[in-house]
Symmetry: C4
Subunit: 207 residues, 4 copies
């Protein structure tokens, strides 16, 4: 199996797992994996497909501008430009974007603050944070309908080889050095969001 | 495979998927797919069956009045008349009706208002709404026990080739130009309902 | 396949389905199906087994007093006496008892009232209630540790061929004329409980 | 099959089941099963693996200090020392540690009290508690980043052959005389946590 097929298989496996959790409602969400560095090319999910199905047309091979390589059929996800920012600016190999009820609720509850910060949670060790007073902050940006504008604002927060950005009432984009790491970070964030939403209800009803 | 078998297969696949999410509790819910235009005929789920099972008697071929074609066994869903309204008045090819806890909660919370409106949610792109200030409104009607009365009131809101109506403490009916579109709209609405119910607990929605 | 094997198969299939929903936490819950009328015998789940597994020892054939027939191995569920009351007093063929978080929450919230009543919910058609103003009431009894005492109080509410009783902080027991009907009633009650718990939260947080 | 392979199989089966419930988010959680008594050795999950996958490297055979036996590849879970305390001080055969949203919420809500107590719940029969006024208390300890410190505090609560400890914003560790018992206790605790969190929102618990 060549490297290209291996990358396809890795992304397909992650897509299958996240689809099992129903994290791609209504054809939403998109995923990307880097295929080559020089020139930069990557696979990204095709636009508008039901991600609960596995087909030979699930991913499209695109170039450093997010445009399909010659011979590629189908249309890349409308948000391919966000993945372009990640692969251009960092050494991340994989990038995952999903909509969940809890990440949307968090994005709305903390939008005015501009970010949400977690600390004192064991699950944060998934981010390599082992100190007791460690914190992790996820920026929350506006959901610009104009994708290049969204990508430009998104890009401001793409600084490290792993990270995450919440888009208001839209979803989270998480990236990491490997597909395994990206999925691990995504699971950790979703756990933090679900925990935080549930705990926060007690500050309203019981105080 | 002839067109009739193809339609059966498409509806069976959607039924299987929605059943996996447990969206047909206690034999509730019903689905329909158009088979022919002139004369209008469609498949509709048989009444009172466990939709978690796949059988050769799951769907009944009915005419433009919702009556079984000659030779058809079993009894069409009690709510077949609602699907009749959709297929008669629009070019929709598929119509899905499910009960979920969240669509019931929304239908009760907003019944007095007569509708529920969403805006500023990325998932609304599933409805083809790409503008930042786009809104979508779902009417909420009374749950008349008399089905012809229910169908008549329902019909008032069947104007386009896709759409949705909530029936109070009953469920949602969603229709679309294709089975794929109808399912996508249904998933998008259920996401919106779950999100809205959760956020509303924090009492900070825009309503 | 003889009738005895058929009954075993029907009960095994229901057990498998309910286990998929995780309705038997920590080996809780028990199920029964009538095998013969004269004399009365029925299958009941063996005590203390993991109901997510399917084995040849899942059910025990017991007599009208809930005692194992000659040659039967294993120990019947501690709550077999409740099923005895159902099969002795009614023509029910199947009886299902499960613990869920929502049925436990309802049983606690309404214990002082002695019952919980639902009306105006479409899902109630599963009980054959088609009128708009129909109501259904589920009695809630104390959870006596002494099973004969529990069975005696439970028996007060076993009057029809189908019905349901909630035991406080314990679970629901539902019975019906057929295994299919019993499962349908159970799904309908669990839907009503989940809906009611969720809706009730709004009367606390938003009023 | 020798005893060592049998133990591996038992632990693998429990891991598979708990992973199906998504109780190992972001590679969190760890499991252990005793292999031999004299000298004490046990299998423990390898560090940092995706527990939704089944591989030949999922478990590592370690000695009474939690160090890999000669020839073992991979790195034992960072929290192996907690399992060491259990196997050294009790006759427990199996120990399970998972992160769930509800066990984290409970650990935070009751951290200041130092423990959470349940009573009057039928599911407590899973712990062998059949009396109506029986209580069960789960201690809640601080989540020390320094594992030997955490293990030392944890050890204070390891007194019987079965038991459970909550670590604040981290998760629960449950142990029992058999793998079957440990899993049963874990399911019972998670049911109690989910029930309690939901009921507490209504502010009418007995606390």
């Amino acid at each position: 199996m060549n490297d290209r097929d291996k990358k396809w298989g890795e992304l397909a496996e992650i897509k299958r797992e996240l689809a099992e959790r129903d994290w791609f409602p209504a054809t939403s969400g998109n995923l990307a994996i880097k295929v080559s560095d020089k020139p930069l090319t990557f696979f990204v999910t095709a636009s508008g497909k039901d991600k609960r199905k596995q087909t030979d047309e699930d991913f499209i091979h695109v170039d450093q501008n997010g445009l399909p390589l010659p011979g590629q059929k189908g249309k890349p996800s409308a948000e391919t430009l966000l993945h372009v920012e990640i692969f251009k600016k960092t050494k991340a190999e994989c990038s995952l974007h999903v909509h969940t009820v809890d990440n949307n609720v968090i994005s709305e509850l903390y939008y005015e603050k501009g970010s949400v910060t977690f600390k004192g949670q064991e699950i944060m060790k998934a981010f390599g944070l082992w100190e007791e007073d460690a914190e992790i902050t996820v920026p929350i940006i506006a959901n610009h309908a104009h994708i290049p504008t969204l990508a430009a604002e998104f890009s401001n927060y793409v600084k490290k080889d792993y990270g995450a950005v919440l888009i208001r009432n839209h979803g989270i984009t998480v990236w990491g050095q490997t597909p395994f790491a990206a999925k691990k970070y995504l699971e950790a964030f979703e756990f933090l969001f679900s925990y935080h939403v549930k705990l926060k209800l007690f500050s309203i009803t019981n105080q």
